[in-house]
Symmetry: none
Subunit: 185 residues, 4 copies
DNA sequence: CATGAATGAGACTTCATTCAT
DNA sequence: AATGAATGAAGTCTCATTCAT
């Protein structure tokens, strides 16, 4: 009755469930049941539900860091980079039933006690902000203006994600993409 | 020890708690305790926790409708209207410990079963979107372009609120305000 | 499926179980099962397992206070009082399968976090000590000597209870009773 | 990172923890963590937590047997022996944060299933009783009376230890020592 | 001889809700 | 209209133990 790789199965299962229904909407019981693990096996690998959430956020952050680097390392123009990113965002949202940004959603149910979680959320958000600033700096010579435009892209990105979730539609992403392309012209 | 207006006290108490800690982070027990009501009195006035949430969202929506009408009825220029709105948003966020948008936060923990809640969220969001479109239409003659710019303002507003919550800072709001003023020039 | 008087049944059931197997050896699940209550019913009446323990200790303390008062108010001689008390102790231990002193047993598994429990234990022990001092003062004119003898009776009583538990025998109680009578002569 | 003498380290660590917080208050996980051993290494040396407890009690019993023999073999008078023993007890209790008698504390959380543990407790208690009887026999010619007085010393010793633990004070030990000296005069 | 992953059972506590009065 | 007691289900987490390597 022993099954190996419990940790991986738990992390993968939890990732899906947290994404679909939110950190507070998913219990340990459901996670371990769907992962086919015993409760104690879970706590062997993760000291708490909170730490599981942190592992999930960290894993996604690593992946998004890769995506950012790949885009910035491509031979696309800044506008094309932004457009590609928003297109990728639209695909992601559509595929995920418009569940929005996992970081923002998690932050919505985390109080100041969850400092590990909150730190990861801020880390990811600042990292994404930096990504947009770098794109902006590629097409805008003035450094200060480039930073401001980068931040504007970041805010558009965040709003597009949030409202696509709230309204279950993709038009906010399209609006944001158009605005981004305009800002980078 | 009889206290009148139990329903109002419950609604007010729940509003504060839901706002501060999120719908899923507050239990009925805490609400009735802080409101000074009995368990069964609560269920006399609200058939479920969900319906209490709906009443809260509805109440806030009514207030924001008033705010929108007052702004649109003022003699401010479109840019001034937008600027005033974002300034008001900054004040609201600062006063509320950067808890962000109650609607988005509630949506983050509601699944498709909570259709009443989701409907109110969409109602409010569409109403806010319409508010920004009306502002845009005041300064942009072309109707289609005005709608697009209004939507852009709406997305900026949403992103500013979300990231102010995530990063516990006001710069996203300032970025959004600057962008809004620029778009309306 | 509703049953009234849950609190009383819980307290009675818990008392028996705590006494028989110790505070740490009995779980909430067993208590509520034997009491025929739902788990949430338990927590309606007692905020925690610890507070249930406190209620149990308090209840026993009240009973022992009555016993002390009744003995001291009787027309027995001091020696007869002490003898009666140790006889009563022997009966109690025999009836209870030699489980010893509930207070000492509970103290053996309570750390400094359980300050409410520890306070009740000390309260009861000091109260019992006072009871023995009062008996001693009835037959010993010198106040200081009476207090010392009273304390000696108290220590004998405690040791008799403890070793009757450890050795599952009554001779320690008989030894203590003989010593007590001798000390009061 | 290999560490030798895993068994000894486990026994030593467990001894400290069992003494400080009681048998039921310490888990295997904490023991092996503090001892720096792996779970399975523990079960290689001890078939169960219960058997670890037995090893601990046995070890302490051996040490106390030595102490008894050394005292009885000394050239002290019976009164001096008793006084020295109670002084040693006071030092032990003060040093150990008034945790009382490990045997009695362990017995308080052991039911009839733990027959190995209970047997060791009885063994140790009878051995201590015998020690006091031997002291008494040194100063009391009549054999029967010596045995009774020895038992009385034993009960005083037990009560002093128990109440020093309950009340976190040393006066019960002093009372018992005074009584012991008086009984041996 | 040593290890770390896996486990079933159970720990204490809280959830939103309903009942009888 | 108002109440406090009662509830089933679920919450997070820990227990002593065993397994394959």
């Amino acid at each position: 009755m022993k099954k190996p790789n419990a940790k991986e199965r738990i992390l993968e299962t939890a990732g899906e469930l947290f994404f679909q229904r939110g950190y507070s909407g998913v219990g340990i019981n459901e996670i371990i049941e769907k992962a086919g693990t015993a409760k104690a096996s879970f706590y062997q690998h993760f000291p708490s539900k909170e730490s599981l959430c942190e592992a999930w956020l960290q894993e996604m952050h690593d992946r998004s860091t890769d995506t950012h680097a790949r885009l910035l390392g491509s031979d696309l123009s800044p506008q094309e980079m932004a457009a590609a990113y928003f297109t990728h965002l639209a695909d992601f949202l559509k595929a995920g039933d418009f569940r929005g940004c996992p970081y923002s959603n998690t932050g919505a149910v985390s109080d100041e006690n969850c400092c590990g979680i909150l730190k990861l959320i801020r880390l990811h958000k600042e990292s994404t902000r930096k990504f947009f600033r770098e794109i902006a700096s590629l097409s805008i010579p003035d450094a200060a203006r480039a930073e401001a435009i980068g931040d504007r892209l970041f805010v558009l990105y965040s709003g597009a994600t949030a409202e696509a979730q709230n309204l279950k539609t993709l038009w906010p992403v399209e609006i944001a993409r158009d605005a981004a392309v305009e800002l980078l012209s």
